[in-house]
């Protein structure tokens, strides 16, 4: 029977795999819904009640530690152990006690105590805001204990942790969002029955995404509107959707409710962006692109690609490209100590952004402060490549410590004084950064392969200027980002004056398609698989062959399983992706070599 609600949705593909099965809805988290909670009388003995609640929170901490002990990855273990510490934080129980003394009932006291910290952290933003989900999970587990529910029994529509149902058949879990502890428990009790996971909220770098990817469970997140569509006409307290079918593709992020067999078959096929151009065996007729006529690749395959030990992919189509390295994109503020497994799986860092050192502060970071931070990242990747990008700032994110002038409000910051252009205006800032990189290199000499690159290059002269400067500081591998059309078109000349380059497909796509990344009205034009962008990347690939210099890709296209194999085929020598995407990328490249 046709429904008035939509049946196809689109989210972010987190872990690849096409899945179809009965949907099981997890009860929504309504933990913040204080007004709807049943009224409770103030307790007669606030001190005794504090003790009781502290005991429950200690049990919650033990739950986390038990989950940590059975977690299958070091990252998951670290996350759960951190949550265990928060559950018994002295400030938290003091806040509960204070609310009890103010007359709150026990459950209200717990909600309010958590909300005090959560509200503050949300306001402070950044790393602190990421702890809010952990606090809310602690609250929900404590409330579950207070209502004498096992976390795992059905709850009502109101409040409390997710009901983790016992699954009787292979099913697709559908939730508004999943905390890492929920995911770990779900997989612990029901691993074989979980076909896949679909979440309305979340994102590629959320903890739950990382865990799902490591467990290899096909997952899609940020599927706006799905939960409402599913619970609109079929929601009931027993937490099954009456076996309503759902299908999705964990790479493309497409989701279909009540799919027909044909729709499921369509989901399994992946669109091939290169087909329009006939890349591969039939190359585009462009003199800059050599004819790979001895390649027997269909447009979809990477012939001869094999996963070598250590994770790199070999592409035999290009004899000069022996290995494709799989690297990480880092923002600089990650908790590297908690990322041991991801780090070990990678071949290094393809992009360390350095803006975190300069933004949101009143004065410029000193050479020593920078060197300490660079050293810390370098030491986390012994024996491997680390590519660090110099400051990529512009008028859209002003640096508080730079002198302000009237010309600062640029109408088009993306086309203004940013990246290398800013560095030429404030040369001492770049000098300090290069000095700090050189110092970090000295401190770790011999242990790490440090590469340094500059952003927003548009001319060969800019590339030459940067290379001369950086080499004067003794930096051994000097390169540039290719993210402007000019740089892509002149890649050959630019590669002649630097040691390497990295293609930033996000900005490159914006400039090539003349579509603002920040303007959702034109976001349909920003698919990096667009033939115009792919053609430019093919030109850069030709420059790689001619000069023998390495060129990687560090934009979103690198982690897109539709596009990554094409990039390898075009001669790209490394792919750098967000940590959450690394395993999925390796698997998708390996699968292609097996076909």
């Amino acid at each position: 029977m046709p429904s008035s609600t939509p049946s196809t949705f689109h989210g972010i593909g987190i872990c690849p795999g096409t899945v179809a099965g009965p949907a099981v809805i997890l009860a929504g988290r309504i933990g913040g819904d204080v007004a709807a909670a049943e009224p409770e009388p103030p307790c007669a003995d606030p001190n005794a009640e504090t003790e009781r609640i502290a005991g429950m929170m200690a049990n919650v901490a033990q739950e986390y530690r038990d989950l940590a002990a059975s977690a299958d990855s070091a990252d998951a273990r670290a996350m759960l152990e951190a949550a265990a510490l928060l559950a018994v934080d002295r400030g938290l129980i003091n806040a509960v006690s204070k609310r009890l003394h103010m007359g709150d009932g026990p459950k209200l006291a717990v909600r309010n105590a958590v909300e005090e910290y959560a509200a503050l952290f949300r306001n402070l933003g950044g790393r602190l805001a990421e702890r809010v989900a952990d606090l809310e999970d602690i609250r929900d587990r404590t409330l579950a204990a207070m209502e004498k529910r096992a976390v795992g029994e059905g709850t009502g529509a109101q409040g409390g942790a997710h009901a983790i149902p016992a699954l009787s058949e292979p099913s697709v879990i559908v939730a508004r969002e999943l905390a890492p502890a929920d995911l770990t428990m779900l997989l612990g009790t029901n691993r074989d029955m979980v076909l896949g996971i679909v979440c309305e909220a979340g994102g590629a770098t959320s903890h739950a995404a990382v865990l799902a990817t490591q467990a290899g469970i096909p997952t899609v997140m940020r599927v706006t509107g799905l939960f409402d569509a599913m619970t609109d006409d079929s929601y009931d307290d027993s937490h099954s959707a009456g076996g309503r079918m759902i299908a999705f593709n964990g790479e493309t992020g497409d989701v279909v409710l009540d799919p027909t067999d044909r729709e499921i078959a369509l989901l399994r096929e992946q669109p091939d962006p290169g087909a329009e151009l006939g890349l591969g065996a039939e190359t585009i007729s462009d003199p800059a692109v050599p004819d790979d006529s001895d390649s027997d690749a269909g447009a979809a395959g990477v012939p001869g690609a094999a996963v070598a030990q250590g994770g790199s992919v070999t592409a035999d189509t290009n004899p000069e490209v022996r290995e494709v390295k799989l690297l990480l994109n880092l923002s600089g503020s990650e908790d590297l100590a908690a990322m041991g497994e991801t780090i070990a799986e990678s071949d290094g860092v393809g992009l360390l952004r350095t803006e975190f050192l300069f933004l949101d502060r009143a004065d410029a970071p000193s050479v020593t402060e920078q060197a300490d931070l660079y050293e810390r990242v370098l030491r986390a990747f012994p024996g491997r490549r680390v590519v660090i990008r110099t400051l990529d700032a512009g008028s859209d994110k002003p640096l508080a410590f730079l002198p302000r002038t009237d010309g600062d409000a640029e109408p088009n910051p993306a086309l203004g004084v940013r990246g290398i252009r800013l560095s030429r205006v404030y040369e001492s800032l770049l000098d300090d950064q290069l000095a700090a990189l050189a110092e970090a290199f000295d401190r770790t000499y011999g242990d790490v392969d440090l590469w340094v690159m500059a952003p927003m290059i548009a001319t060969v002269e800019e590339a030459e200027w940067f290379a001369r400067k950086a080499r004067a500081y003794g930096l051994p591998n000097v390169g540039v980002m290719i993210e402007t059309p000019a740089a892509a078109l002149c890649a050959r000349e630019i590669l002649d004056v630097v040691d390497f380059a990295s293609i930033g497909t996000n900005d490159l796509t914006q400039y090539v398609m003349a579509a603002d990344r920040c303007n959702s009205a034109v976001s349909g034009l920003l698919d990096p698989a667009n033939p115009a962008v792919m053609r430019l990347i093919a030109m850069v690939g030709a420059a790689v062959r001619e000069t023998g210099k390495p060129v990687g890709v560090c934009g979103e296209a690198a982690g897109d399983p539709r596009i990554a194999p094409k990039l390898v085929e075009m001669g790209v020598t490394s792919l750098s992706v967000a940590p959450a995407r690394l395993s999925a990328l390796r698997r998708s490249l390996a699968r292609l070599s097996a076909e």
Binding site: A82, L85, L86, D89, R90, G91, L92, N94, Y117, L120, F121, L124, G126, R127, L128, R131, S333, D335, A337, A338, R361, E369, D372, L373, R376, R379
Partner: protein, 90 residues
């Protein structure tokens, strides 16, 4: 009351992990320790309380113990040393 002025040696400041490590050390010392900035004061035995101060790398804070004994002085010395080092590589 004993107090020390300390410059935060963790470049990224006292976010969750360094705050947790420092709070743990405070609890193990057995002393009642407070950490204060220009914006406020907090119980240094609570990671959450430390985090509310949003302390950045390079900031100066004051550690204090309401106890004048030699044992308290020793504890304050070692906690100050910990805080002036880089807790992110601890």
């Amino acid at each position: 009351m004993l107090s020390r002025s300390v410059t935060i040696g963790t470049p990224l400041g006292l976010h969750a992990r360094p705050a947790a490590l420092f709070a743990q050390a405070v609890l193990e010392s057995g002393f009642d320790v407070h950490i204060a900035t220009a914006d406020g004061e907090a119980d240094a035995g609570s990671a959450l309380e430390i985090m509310t101060l949003n302390v950045d790398g390079g900031d100066t804070v004051t550690l204090s113990i309401p106890d004048d004994s030699p044992e308290a002085a020793r504890a304050l010395d070692s906690l100050s040393a910990l805080l002036s080092g880089n807790l992110d590589v601890a």
